[in-house]
């Protein structure tokens, strides 16, 4: 479908509460996605290739570190702008949004928040311009929902650290120039290390045969006695809360991004339902199709309100991890449901690469799992309201 014909659902007139600057950010990102992502994304998803040519465009539009201050190469935007950017990029594809999320929230953010001035000056402008691409290593083969059990370790060797272990399901790993890797010291305390491509013993094998995020490069990070210069340790924060704070920022972006995928599915289904004739009338005239569409726009509207309020709280520094968990869980599940219902409205056409729905649906199966699974986020809410963590 013609991307320019896209009409974003705004049932509760949320544009009225956005500033003209927010709208400019949103519209700029939407125009860029129409031009740079939508025309090429199906072919890359079908062929399971990452469209490396979009890196320059993502950097140019300012999708790498939009909330990082300008003196480090970012744009210094607020969190609602960041959310709107993620929403629009994910309308194109969750995989491309993942690349931008990882770079911004999981690589640039920890360097900005926990790094030395030298680390910030060296890495942040290069990451903002796309000269460097980054990856974030937390998940391990045996430790997904329980990252605190990680086995990746480093030892102090006097003039350097020696790093051993492995990380998996790492976005951007195959081409990353630098990875923010979380590993335990000899006392079992978690620290962040900047591992750079070319360091001896550091390899990044690609993960193949995915049915989801096919246009995103996913891989592993292997560390076999990698010598890490001491200047590459992030000194600002340690313990499990350090990587979890990064995840707060990324999960916040996902709660907006999922809305973008849902909006694209809903708009496609609405347009299709009004054009597709059966029994002498458009299928949009039938009650069961109207039920699907009406429920979709209701759920999208609720998700938009949730994300917008969360953005206001994030701007004021009042968004807790549990609040972010609620929005990530709700909005991704919402998007997945909208994708599935939209697919049904399109009938057989819904499985075709001519339309974006099936690609969004498959992507969202990853999004509902990564950055905290659907179930774990529910337990985070449970722990928050009862004071009793059920996952420990």
């Amino acid at each position: 479908m013609d991307p320019k014909a896209f009409s974003a659902p705004d049932y509760y007139l949320l544009d009225d509460v956005l500033s003209s600057e927010h709208i400019m950010v949103r519209d700029a990102a939407r125009s860029w996605v129409n031009k740079a992502i939508i025309p090429i994304i199906d072919e890359h998803a079908q062929n399971a290739t990452f469209p490396k040519q979009v890196i320059g465009g993502l950097a140019e539009i300012g999708a790498f570190g939009p909330m990082i201050p300008e003196n480090y190469g970012g744009a210094g935007l607020d969190y609602i702008s960041y959310g709107l950017l993620m929403q629009e990029i994910e309308r194109g594809d969750s995989g491309i949004r993942s690349t931008a999320s990882v770079q911004s929230s999981l690589v640039m953010y920890p360097i900005y928040a926990y790094g030395t001035e030298a680390q910030k000056k060296h890495f942040l402008p290069k990451l903002a311009s796309g000269e460097y691409m980054g990856a974030f290593g937390l998940t391990e083969p045996n430790h997904g929902s329980n990252p605190g059990g990680m086995e990746t370790k480093f030892k102090d060797q006097g003039d350097h650290y020696l790093l051993n272990g492995a990380k998996m399901w790492i976005s951007n790993a195959p081409f990353a120039d630098v990875a923010v890797v979380w590993a335990k010291d000899e006392n079992g305390r978690i620290h962040g290390l900047l591992v750079e491509r070319g360091m001896e013993g550091f390899t990044t094998p690609e993960t193949h045969n995915k049915w989801s995020l096919r246009a995103s490069a996913t891989g592993e990070l292997h560390f076999d006695n990698v010598k890490i210069p001491k200047k590459n340790l992030l000194p600002g924060k340690n313990g499990l809360s350090a990587p979890l704070h990064c995840l707060d920022s990324a999960r916040y972006g996902i709660s907006w991004g999922a809305i973008g995928a849902a909006m694209d599915c809903y708009d496609t289904a609405l347009r299709y339902a009004k054009e597709r004739m059966q029994f002498g009338k458009p299928i949009a005239a039938f009650q069961l199709q109207q039920k699907k569409l009406a429920e979709m726009v209701t759920e999208i509207t609720k998700a938009q309100l949730l994300a917008h309020r969360l953005g206001q709280l994030k701007n004021k520094g009042k968004a807790s991890s549990a609040m972010i968990s609620m929005a990530k869980r709700n909005n991704v599940a919402m998007a997945l449901q909208v994708a599935r219902e939209s697919r049904q409205i399109l009938g057989a056409m819904g499985i075709s690469g001519e339309f974006s729905i099936m690609r969004h649906m498959m992507n969202l199966e990853s999004v509902v799992t990564y950055e905290g699974t659907h179930d774990i986020h529910l337990l985070i809410t449970g722990a928050d309201i009862t004071g009793i963590p059920a996952f420990k």
């Binding site: 700029a28 939009p66 300008e70």
Partner: protein, 248 residues
């Protein structure tokens, strides 16, 4: 080189057009406004002069405060400074007289206006401006180069193109061809943030009155049903065109 790009704030072409107050006013409810496309081609060309030849680029718009988001977008794309003439734009004469004051005060070498705005399609403003200010003028301009104080422009004429050379100060009525659609710039996040800090000066309207007044607006009649005529039945087609459509 000091350039002024005149920018109109116009409804996006996908907008649904409605009127209010007994069909005397355009209903702006739910309408998204954008930079007039002919002006955006000119703005993009001005950005080229800025990047390659160190030009300074100002923008000017006649409008109330509601036009400022469109102006901020032009600043986010890279214009250096904006001037908003605080008046509701009416006819081409009124808009041109307002812009003329700004152009006189700013001593611009090059004024780029769109050939026409896509809302009322008057196509008068650049020509009236040139006459009022006694500036050289190239309308329907599809290419523009400037070397020192000499400009070489190509304009579209019936059935072809005409290449002209002229000198600054110059005003052009620009359109697609100055740059192509693929050259149009999407503002980036840093540009949007920088636009926040750029000057957008509001100047009062000068003393002039429109020469025309809108009476009523009317939408074209809705299209009627289509009659299909069998390919072999030419006589019926001729009869319908003659008796019903009355076109032959």
């Amino acid at each position: 080189m000091k350039i002024l790009v005149c920018i109109s704030n116009v409804p996006d072409t996908t907008s649904k057009i409605n009127f209010t107050d007994g069909d005397t006013k355009f209903d702006t409810n739910g309408v998204q406004f954008v930079i007039n496309p002919n002006d955006e081609f000119g703005l993009t060309r001005a950005m080229w002069f800025k990047e390659k030849q160190g030009a300074t680029v100002h923008i000017a718009t006649v409008g109330d405060a509601s036009v400022e988001p469109t102006m901020r977008k032009a600043l986010a794309i890279g214009a250096d400074e904006g001037i908003r003439i605080d008046a509701v734009p009416t006819d081409g004469y009124f808009v041109a007289t307002q812009l003329a004051e700004v152009i006189k005060k700013g001593a611009y070498d090059l004024v780029i206006a769109g050939r026409e705005s896509i809302d009322y399609n008057g196509g008068m403003v650049p020509g009236i401006l040139a006459a009022m200010l006694g500036m050289n003028f190239v309308n329907t301009c599809i290419s523009l180069e400037v070397e020192g104080s000499t400009a070489t422009a190509v304009r579209e004429i019936d059935g072809g193109k005409e290449k002209v050379s002229t000198s600054l100060p110059l005003i052009i009525g620009g359109q697609k061809g100055l740059v192509e659609e693929s050259d149009l710039k999407i503002p980036n996040m840093r540009g949007i943030m920088m636009a926040r800090k750029k000057a957008l000066n509001v100047v009062p309207a000068s003393d002039s009155n429109p020469l025309t007044k809108d009476q009523t607006f009317e939408k074209p009649a809705a299209k009627g049903p289509v009659k299909l005529v069998d390919a072999g039945n030419v006589a019926e087609l001729v009869s319908l065109l003659h008796n019903e459509a009355k076109v032959i």
